[in-house]
């Protein structure tokens, strides 16, 4: 251990935290030591459940005790041990000298209070300012985090802001008492790539201006690869590797760090061999508009989109949230009725089919959803989930259903012993495998994959991506792969479509899009990919 250095803002030493559960004591964090320096960023990397959030929450007394318990360790912040402070003193530190940004900006803001009131609250509470002063200071701060016209927007409610704007408000809230240490818990995971890039530069900018120490928690090494000073890699509650950025990224020693690095999607897909010349799916002049009582003109979620997918081809569709890419996917599989235009599947016009005829076509056209926590019926076992579509479309004889279910489970990499389990007993990655299995159960020809890996951790994401690639070859699938992440898309698709505000703005092969982007928006998307330094190396 190094000597106490005056630059150390926070020094955590030998921290262990455990939780008492029904199945016995679970050690969430074991013997963790790290430091954060003034004006520097320490990044904690690990997949969900690795204890990265718990270790920071326990510093501020934010874990519920019981069942949580801090077993040992110390956390010296400005000469005082945070773990031994009384609740009273801790409350003074928390929010005033150490503040936090959380992952989900929607759930962390009170939907019934205006932004201004929520910002003023800590000022009035901690600094005993008067309302008028607090308001002036809030406006100033909102301007600093890049909110336009803060004099007006300060009286808006959270739902009137976009996701990125809400996260800016969260940052403003975290900074309002001029803390010395900022803990950011996956602050950009819920955001689009372009917004994420803006957020990261905002945090770095504020950090330099205010000499802020930052603990940045993330599951994604590429996100922190541009700005972290020190990187700590955690796995199963322990630190497996730590060091400065260049040594971790340049010469990782621990196999887990190497795995994390290799999980970052990079490079393009090899040109596939099994590719027909006939278009399987033809979309022409497709429009999907939503009318709403609040706006006089309908929202044009998809406007005048035309493209085709050849049989055996994987086409990637990229765009940020709100660009209409999910609506487009759902319109193609007729989960949303398009307003006008045509969708032809093997020369059959889907938009004109009656509901009952469409049900037959659903055997050939399937969809995989983004969130495996929401897309599986929580009260159906894996067996029921997989058997249901087979029995409906009579894919196999009744007596062969069981063996077919086991075959599908094997294909998507699920142990056959878990056939009687319910969705909640699986991790996110496993659930997505079940959802993929359900789509494959009817042996479809064409699958729309709507952000199938976006809700997953990076390492799991690369596993599922590899699985999807294998299944495409094995089942001879044609696929429309939707994602907001260009690097994921590039890895899996033969051709890429870029979608912006309801229209397709650019189309081409992966190498063409990346090397010679023609559209400004495409260029912005490529620039926003985190960790491009890693991609090049």
């Amino acid at each position: 251990m190094q000597k106490i250095n005056s630059n150390h803002l926070l020094k955590v030493d030998g921290l262990s935290v455990s939780f008492v559960t029904r199945n016995g004591i679970v050690k969430a964090v074991e013997d963790i030591s790290f430091t954060v320096d003034i004006g520097k960023t320490t990044a904690i990397i690990g997949e969900s459940g690795s204890g990265k959030s718990v270790s920071c929450y326990s510093l501020l007394g934010l874990i519920p005790t019981p069942p949580g318990k801090i077993d040992s360790g110390s956390a010296i912040f400005d000469g005082e041990d945070l773990l031994r402070l009384s609740n009273e003193c801790l409350r003074n530190v928390r929010g005033r000298r150490i503040s936090m940004i959380f992952q989900d900006p929607m759930t962390c803001l009170n939907p019934f209070m205006t932004i201004g009131k929520q910002l003023a609250e800590p000022l009035i509470c901690h600094q005993r300012l008067r309302r008028g002063q607090a308001r002036d200071l809030s406006i100033e701060l909102l301007r600093e985090v890049g909110i336009r016209e803060p004099e007006i927007t300060i009286d808006c409610f959270p739902h009137e802001f976009s996701g990125g704007m809400r996260q800016r408000v969260m940052i403003a809230m975290a900074l309002i008492n001029e803390p010395e240490l900022l803990i950011a818990d996956e602050p950009t995971t819920a955001l689009d790539v372009t917004i994420q890039a803006q957020m990261l530069s905002l945090i770095t900018e504020l950090q330099n201006k205010r000499d802020l120490g930052v603990i940045f928690i993330s599951h994604d090494l590429s996100v922190v690869s541009d700005f972290a000073d020190d990187v700590i890699v955690m796995q199963k509650g322990r630190i497996v590797e730590s060091g400065d950025r260049s040594s971790i990224l340049g010469s990782p020693r621990h196999p887990y760090t190497k795995k994390l690095l290799s999980a970052i999607p990079r490079g393009g897909k090899a040109v596939s061999s099994v590719r027909g010349d006939l278009p399987l799916v033809q979309v022409s002049n497709l429009n999907t508009w939503f009318s709403s009582a609040r706006y006089r003109t309908p929202i044009r979620a998809v406007s005048n989109v035309s493209f085709s997918i050849l049989s055996g081809e994987v086409v990637g569709l990229v765009g940020e949230s709100g660009s209409g890419k999910s609506t487009l996917g759902r319109s193609i599989v007729q989960l949303i009725k398009p307003t006008s235009g045509s969708v032809k599947f093997a020369d059959l016009e889907l938009t004109k089919l009656s509901n009952s005829l469409m049900k037959h076509q659903r055997r050939l056209i399937q969809i995989i959803f983004q969130d495996p926590f929401a897309s599986l019926n929580p009260r159906m076992t894996v067996f029921d989930t997989l058997a249901e579509p087979m029995q409906l479309h009579k894919i196999v004889e009744k007596r062969d259903v069981t063996s077919e279910v086991f075959k599908i489970m094997n294909d998507v990499g699920l142990a056959s012993s878990s056939v009687r389990k319910y969705p909640h007993e699986f991790s996110g990655g496993q659930r997505q495998r079940i959802a993929i299995g359900r789509a494959l159960a009817v042996r479809p020809k064409f699958i729309v994959a709507d952000e199938p890996v976006s809700a997953l951790d990076v390492t799991i994401q690369s596993q599922v991506l590899t699985l999807i690639q294998e299944l495409i070859d094995e089942y001879g699938l044609t696929m429309l792969f939707i994602s907001h992440d260009l690097s994921v898309i590039r890895k899996i698709s033969d051709r890429i479509l870029i979608m912006h505000k309801g229209s397709i703005v650019e189309e081409g092969s992966g190498s063409k899009i990346f090397e010679h982007p023609e559209n400004d928006y495409t260029r912005a998307l490529i620039d926003a990919i985190p960790g491009r330094k890693l991609q090049v190396s």
Binding site: P378, R379, T381, V401, T402, V405
Partner: protein
Amino acid sequence: MTEQEDLEINDIASGSSLSKDAWIRLRKNRPALGGLIILTAFFAIALFTPWIAPYGYEVQDLNLGATGPSQDHWLGTDIFGRDLLTQIMYGGRISLSVGFLATIVALFIGVTWGSIAGFVGGRIDSVMMRLVDILYALPFMIFIILLMVVFGRNMLLLFLAIGAVEWLTMARIMRGQVQNLRQQEFVEAAVAIGLSRSVILVRHIIPNAIGPIIVYTTLTIPSVMLLEAFLSFLGLGIQPPETSWGLLIAYGAETMEEYPWLLLFPGFFLAVTLFSLNFLGDGLRDALDVRGAKD
């Protein structure tokens, strides 16, 4: 073919895994199982009362009057010298059948009505729910009294009248649940598979809405029993010499100071029934919630 696969095939034939797993979990839950056994016993006694009751329900012994528990009359007699145990047994027949049948009527109408309104949505939903609002607004005592006056006193009518009032809340709860569930992605996934709307409703939506419904059902049964006592007290339900637990308790309460056993014993049976129902209801809810019980 392995043994495990054999087992799986039998499963498909015997219906969904959920009800089977739920039964296994319910059997492990001791209070719920106890509640189930007690309720079953009460039902059996009620069913066979005419054969096993120690006295006829009309038998009076005015010379005897009200006496405490004794060898001839285990739970004592009332002021007319009628055996209390016999009365409780015959009263149980009425109370249990009114309580359960009226609740089943309410459950059936309410769940069907609410889930259709919530699932179909749009104008049909508005019309269906406005009807519920209108019925809510009717003072229900007047409604029941009117029914009784027009059609005369009749057990079947009593079931229907109470059931017809109690389903309103059930329909509202169900509609809220279904509306929420309808927007979930797994329902969209079921559409994408090609399932028909009725199958989606029955297999994917209703099983996920069942928790609050069960809890509300266990709350409805006792309130229906008390409602029956109230109606009978007003002279609109059961009339002596027929009796029910509610009536026995009401009369017992009048003579509480002189003959406390006339209140205590019927009250005890009602309380045991309600406890059993609550334990069973909680157990059912937990058993059907696959996330809760993880061994």
